[in-house]
Symmetry: C2
Subunit: 273 residues, 2 copies
């Protein structure tokens, strides 16, 4: 839920937070974005998110303001919105309005402060089910606004009582529709490296695992899931969310694994500063 | 260039034609659309375009008003805009605003009347160059708002002095970024059938060719281009546009072919009613 926006430098409350109907972000889906959250009302690891957004922006030939500029607007948005708790921060960079409906002329940069939508608390203690699905995002290394595939498959998820789809490319696991995917085998933490978005939480978990687990960034086949002791997904709003079932396969004993719980604890301590 | 819009039933002039910044069409690229034009201020073959839009809408689980309703709004837009000549008509259906930024709750339907951007007149007599490019649209049978690939490759087109990219899937030709593709071999008109958008102009040309040419809807390989006598692309604003070069290969004698000119003439007569 939108709380406050800054659209090309102008602060706008919901109802006045509008973009022209001929923005290339709307009529041509031409946009990249990033999404982070606050803890104790401070943006978490914002420089990591901005580095990723800058990479997406470069590949779309769209200019992005300086980090200092963006951070000062984010802080002012939080100050003005004065939310009771933590918030999500969405940074959207689009092709902007265009006379001919195709040529980028005046890109648009939008920052919004939003109510956080977090997973139900019991999912962290019970774990979730994923459903494998053949799909590789068109530009997997970039965070673009193209979520057509996942929104189209809302019913597929619901019909299968799955928390999310776990994408695979001809049998090689990639990522879920919005998160990174890990398995644990013995003392090894394994996560795909190619053709996935490199999440900031993914990076944080790999850092926290150092010295405690051996991390392998490599391809994982669907078949290998049967050898996994534990599994989890990572993301900005999910943090570390245990996975206890994939399709009809139970992971481990069907409850969040002990090493997953160790990593969840380490991440919570990192977040607590 | 936007002349007048109808956004969920409200008529809006440029400057007031805005959508909420949290529309799923903008932040998630969740939208389908269609685009047609007028001749003598009357929408051309609008029922064909609406049938295609309805198919796209169904696959995105988005509701579309009745044809009668849409046609009456289109006519009112043209009446109110009172343009000096013909116009383009864009119909955009998006996921609309969403509390959680993912769930479709209140889809948005937008109709805009726009200035037509037509190819320079001399291109019809000189023909154009295409550049082959490995790419298959994610949902090739649907007209979605995802034009990320083509806008990203604007410079590639310019650097190669190409009018457009001609997509192929591992050597099998598909379509250009915005148009259908045909070759002519002897008396045969050949155009890909699978994994392409079925254009209304494509359909019109196939109808007009009946009895004069043998039409084959089938796969075409890149290698087969060297055996083509003629080539052209079809589309709403291009009508029939001759292709005289693909990469370094000259098609025919490097000028629009005689059968292409016959079809162009037939199409112009059809349009003239």
């Amino acid at each position: 839920m939108l709380l406050l926006a800054n659209i090309n430098g102008e602060y706008r409350y919901p109802g006045q937070a509008m973009v022209p109907v001929n923005d290339l972000g709307l009529i041509r889906g031409y946009g990249v974005f990033d999404y982070l959250r606050t803890y104790r009302k401070e943006p978490f690891r914002i420089n990591d998110y901005l580095e990723r957004l800058r990479n997406s922006a470069n590949e779309f030939n769209l200019p992005l303001p300086s980090n200092d500029n963006i951070i000062s607007v984010v802080k002012e948005l939080i100050r003005r919105a004065d939310p009771p708790g933590d918030v999500g921060i969405r940074l959207v960079l689009t092709g902007g309005t265009s006379a001919d409906g195709m040529t980028v002329q005046k890109p648009s940069f939008i920052i919004t402060i939003e109510k956080l939508f977090l997973p139900a608390e019991d999912l962290f203690s019970k774990g979730v089910k994923l459903l494998t699905y053949q799909y590789k995002r068109e530009l997997p290394h970039l965070k673009t606004t193209n979520y057509q595939n996942i929104i189209r498959h809302t019913k597929l998820k619901e019909d299968n009582k799955a928390f999310d789809l776990l994408y695979h490319d001809h049998g090689y696991l990639l990522e879920t529709s919005r998160n990174n995917f890990f398995i644990i085998k013995g003392n090894k933490l394994i996560t795909p490296k190619e053709d996935v978005l490199h999440g900031i939480t993914r990076k944080t978990v790999i850092e926290l695992a150092e010295g405690k687990f051996e991390t392998e960034e490599r391809k994982i086949t669907i078949e290998e899931l049967s050898e996994a002791d534990e599994a989890f997904i990572t993301g900005t709003t999910k943090k570390i969310l245990p996975v206890v079932q994939i399709n009809d396969l139970q992971i481990g004993n069907g409850m969040p694994g002990k090493n997953t719980l160790i990593l969840m604890d380490l991440l919570n301590k990192e977040i607590a500063g």
